[in-house]
Symmetry: C2
Subunit: 421 residues, 2 copies
Amino acid sequence: MAADQRPKADTLALRQRLISSSCRLFFPEDPVKIVRAQGQYMYDEQGAEYIDCISNVAHVGHCHPLVVQAAHEQNQVLNTNSRYLHDNIVDYAQRLSETLPEQLCVFYFLNSGSEANDLALRLARHYTGHQDVVVLDHAYHGHLSSLIDISPYKFRNLDGQKEWVHVVCTAQLNNRLQPSSLSLCPVWEGRSFPLLATSPKWQSEHIRKAGGVFVADEIQVGFGRVGKHFWAFQLQGKDFVPDIVTMGKSIGNGHPVACVAATQPVARAFEATGVEYFNTFGGSPVSCAVGLAVLNVLEKEQLQDHATSVGSFLMQLLGQQKIKHPIVGDVRGVGLFIGVDLIKDEATRTPATEEAAYLVSRLKENYVLLSTDGPGRNILKFKPPMCFSLDNARQVVAKLDAILTDMEEKVRSCETLRLQP
Amino acid sequence: MAADQRPKADTLALRQRLISSSCRLFFPEDPVKIVRAQGQYMYDEQGAEYIDCISNVAHVGHCHPLVVQAAHEQNQVLNTNSRYLHDNIVDYAQRLSETLPEQLCVFYFLNSGSEANDLALRLARHYTGHQDVVVLDHAYHGHLSSLIDISPYKFRNLDGQKEWVHVVCTAQLNNRLQPSSLSLCPVWEGRSFPLLATSPKWQSEHIRKAGGVFVADEIQVGFGRVGKHFWAFQLQGKDFVPDIVTMGKSIGNGHPVACVAATQPVARAFEATGVEYFNTFGGSPVSCAVGLAVLNVLEKEQLQDHATSVGSFLMQLLGQQKIKHPIVGDVRGVGLFIGVDLIKDEATRTPATEEAAYLVSRLKENYVLLSTDGPGRNILKFKPPMCFSLDNARQVVAKLDAILTDMEEKVRSCETLRLQP
């Protein structure tokens, strides 16, 4: 492989010439060229090893041999669309159904979380006959036109809020509002539902009373990541059943796989239109083989339990950082989905945006890949591959501690926080 | 593999229980279970070999060993998102740019043709500042909400035509209309542009005069399928340059890969919003490795030239059928994208819908897979893998001839056209 590689500067120059700058790079001032990855580690063109705290998509670990093998075996034999009968699609749907409440029993397969959320919106609107949508503030549900409209994270920077979109906390869930759906990612910025002003259970009851359905967007947080439960919506208790669940990202470990699960009434309403839903690649034998392999590895390696123990340990270590460093305003999360809020001071709680960017760059120089999130881009977001270890947690927090200590010294001696060129 | 297989009846029963019936099967009365495919052949669970005239997605042939190998090699090493620098994405963009007019020089990578058309719509609207869209009648541009709205093929069966959608031939391209774009699949139902009442060149001039851009949807017809040219829009001549080209289906030979190419002005207008475009799987090292392998095979096996020669031969054989069988109303096409119009009689040219369905079922019993298209579902659509051979053309037309002859005899003896149970 190495012989074929372009020098990093050439790759960057070609990228700037050929790929739209709307498609951003991590660390734009000094992007990383990654040429290899395994488990929770990524390697650059010089062979340097990075601990990966970002890649939730590489759910069971980068290039997991069993997943790679499953893709290869199926790729050699058959990869076609779902208009032919095939065992993989029904086997995969059956395995997924075993993880869900029995009411969620009708499946659609697609290529991306965005496609899944778009279909969820279509299903909700057909079922309810309403157009309006209630969403969580700052939420991001995907890159498609229909989803930009329901993603405050995006539409605030574009054309603004459509009159049929209602942001939770401002939305009046009364008789005047007739929503098609409430779309929620059950964990957001490391906060799970119950930390919201109103619980999703309360919200879903109100949404249903108002004629809408509840969509659980599990694209970022599902599939065992929250540890205690397979799905994040299950944090609400056993009797809490969404009308639609959307899945993506992690379920194919990097292969484009996504899924919508719906209740019978929701699915039947769409079927009654007589309109076909056809997705060229969705539910292909290869996608489903990969999906099945990811489920097998999750189970075999007990990664859900692992997420609980490593996640708790990481939370505990980060909690110690909160005591030690005033910039750490809050540590919250569940399983291996953890947010660390960086603030200017305890009194105003102003987002420490620049400090967060500086910290993340310094971590990268120290071979830790981490990203920020939130409206103030001041929340360190931990969502590593699920094989992230106790040792990794120790290493990452030790580096974080050292950099925060150094930052505090710099501030005391009135140095500016600037990266060395 | 065989030992793991469910009996076909079990697969069907599970499919009916778990997968939405909105996701249709080919030959719903007696669906085919396909377990293996190679080149232009598919094999059912009994080992029966079918000639595949449907799978345009398996562009260079089902399970092409070089494409499978490229996916496997890259899957073992790295599959991550495009926020890291990587050679594959720039190599692939560069190779694609060599096939396009130089103005089309900014690339975006995605997972599906639907995602590509949705982004094209966003780009067109940002660039022009207009919302309206002009489309071809009966067109289908994808399964997403935003694309159902611009697909007469779909919206006629659903909520009807939005006021901002204008169907070509009825659209008044005058000063009052301010469209964002004209979206056209350059070949439709086997007709290429010039057969339309007005040529696309004329249309694009009018669209541009009215402030819009021209989107060439090459998802079904690009990549050498039309034979004489790599892209179907090139049938319009060397000086015809769309503002946006969308690609999908065939470019990954079954792997979910799609692409949007845009001119600098169109791309820059979107970049100026400062909004990021991020697609989780789009442009991954694996997708791009697969895309590059497909380009290599196309070139190495000279499949574009092959499409010209085999396509011409198939057109010629089908032309003989038109002379022999009155039900064949028209044969039209370009390269390996051919439509055969079945009509009740020459005078009324009423679509022979039932006859087309019967014929396709009989062909399936004779181990030929073919589908119908068009508003009357009476057009036999040939879009086989590009390795479809002269012999395949002879075999398929011989079977078609035999069945049409038998159908004529049945009609003469007043038998109903019904398949044996």
